[in-house]
């Protein structure tokens, strides 16, 4: 009897320990910014270059995550990248002349979309498009520009 009791307590402790370890892994090591909202609206934006932006990347405003990217595709008519994103319906008063830019979290971090508020009286709603966009910074282009500038600087 005493023997079985010890085994049962040991097993119970082991299973509890394992469960809490699994819980720790799923909650503490994953997902920096989790975005979940009951109601969302969808907004479209076209970019010349999206860099390495991926679906599920966060959409943030003033550093707060308010939505996420749902789809990145190429628009063959406009010859631009078309990015669909959903935004939490709580934030329905975003001016429709706000501009979207693709930013990088840290030097080598993942890319996300940052919204900068505009001054319009009309707001973004389901299906509207953000017209003012700024492409991702491509490191090669930046280095290229830097080389050209420093080259011309040397001539003067």
């Amino acid at each position: 009897m005493q023997q079985t009791r010890a085994v049962e307590i040991g097993t119970g402790l082991f299973v509890l320990l394992g469960m809490s370890a699994l819980f720790f892994l799923t909650t503490q090591t994953t997902g920096g910014e989790k975005f979940s909202a009951d109601e969302t609206f969808e907004v479209q934006a076209n970019f010349d270059n999206v860099g390495s932006l991926k679906p599920r990347a966060p959409v943030s405003m003033s550093g707060v995550t308010i939505g996420r990217v749902t789809d990145v595709s190429f628009d063959p008519v406009a010859l631009q990248a078309k990015v669909m994103m959903i935004i939490d319906s709580r934030y329905e008063q975003i001016p429709d002349d706000s501009d979207a830019s693709i930013l990088t979290a840290g030097l080598l971090g993942s890319q996300y979309i940052g919204l900068q508020a505009g001054g319009s009286d009309t707001y973004l709603e389901n299906g509207s498009e953000i017209y003012f966009t700024q492409s991702a910074i491509v490191l090669e282009n930046l280095i290229g520009k830097f080389l050209v500038n420093s080259g011309s600087g040397g001539d003067e």
């Binding site: 079985t4 085994v7 049962e8 040991g10 097993t11 402790l13 082991f14 299973v15 320990l17 394992g18 469960m19 370890a21 699994l22 720790f24 892994l25 799923t26 503490q28 090591t29 994953t30 997902g31 920096g32 979290a105 080598l108 971090g109 993942s110």
Partner: protein, 257 residues
């Protein structure tokens, strides 16, 4: 020359036969599993204790040092690229996706697998299994199934514990000894670890749990009932489990990518 070809052929047929018998054995064990879980849960709990709780010490010590050495190596190599802050991401991904499941499975084979196969082999050598059959008790059901289930339940939990202790070890080495910023350590980890990575690790731990416990039980059950045969079965358990786990790990990773 002809004997060589014939031997080769016979070996091949024998290999395929063993493989097929193993699959059938798996089905046979599975078919008895629900009855054991609901009918005699006490037996399963005893085996979870044997396979899981008794393996905790080796799992925790090894996990701590594996995490620690990943922290050391990760730090010294990433520091060359001024990316020492990413050591948290490196350690977490390596542990969750690969090293946690694989090393735990190998340790499990060494600690619990050998215990299972030598126990069952000895039961066979001392005619305990035959005695059960004489009493119309199926040894597969009464002896093998609870041991198999115990291993299958214990393995994912052991992997989770191993991974957590590993992260703890890496944290001590990287943050406390090498003074990586604690915020950067966790933030980089959380940015790069996705739910899918954890799912991959859990899937692997389930598969390895099934393979490791089934192989241990199978080898014990098919051991030649002599002292030497039991010893050989125990060795084969470790060797075959190690090979299968590493091959399966490669295959699962290739599929999941």
């Amino acid at each position: 020359m002809r004997t060589l070809i014939r031997d080769l052929y016979n070996n091949l047929v024998e290999f395929v036969r063993t493989f097929g018998a193993f699959q059938l054995f798996f089905l046979r064990v599975l078919s008895h599993a629900p009855q054991m879980v609901f009918g005699r849960p006490g037996l399963v709990v005893k085996q979870i204790y044997n396979a899981g709780a008794l393996s905790l010490v080796i799992i925790m010590v090894c996990g701590f040092f594996v995490g620690g050495v990943l922290g050391l190596q990760g730090y010294s190599n990433l520091a060359r690229f001024n990316a020492a802050d990413s050591v948290g991401a490196l350690v977490a991904l390596a542990l969750i996706k690969e090293l946690g499941p694989v090393i735990t499975a190998l340790l499990f084979a060494g600690r619990a697998g050998t215990a299972l196969s030598s126990e069952i082999g000895l039961m066979k050598a001392t005619d305990q299994l035959s005695a059960m059959e004489m009493m119309a008790v199926s040894p597969v059901k009464r002896v093998l199934v609870p041991r198999f289930l115990g291993g299958v339940v214990a393995m994912p939990l052991l992997v989770a514990i191993f991974t957590c202790i590993g992260l703890f070890g890496a944290h001590i080495v990287a943050v406390d000894l090498l003074s990586v910023d604690v915020g950067a350590f966790w933030q980089q980890m959380q940015l790069s670890v996705d739910m899918e990575d954890i799912q991959e690790g859990v899937l692997k731990s389930f598969v390895f749990g099934i393979v490791a416990s089934l192989l241990a039980v199978w080898e014990g059950y098919n051991a030649i009932p002599t002292a030497e045969g039991v010893g050989r079965a125990t060795t084969r358990t470790v060797v075959i489990t190690a090979i299968s786990v590493l091959i399966l790990d490669f295959m699962i990773t290739a599929v999941m990518l």
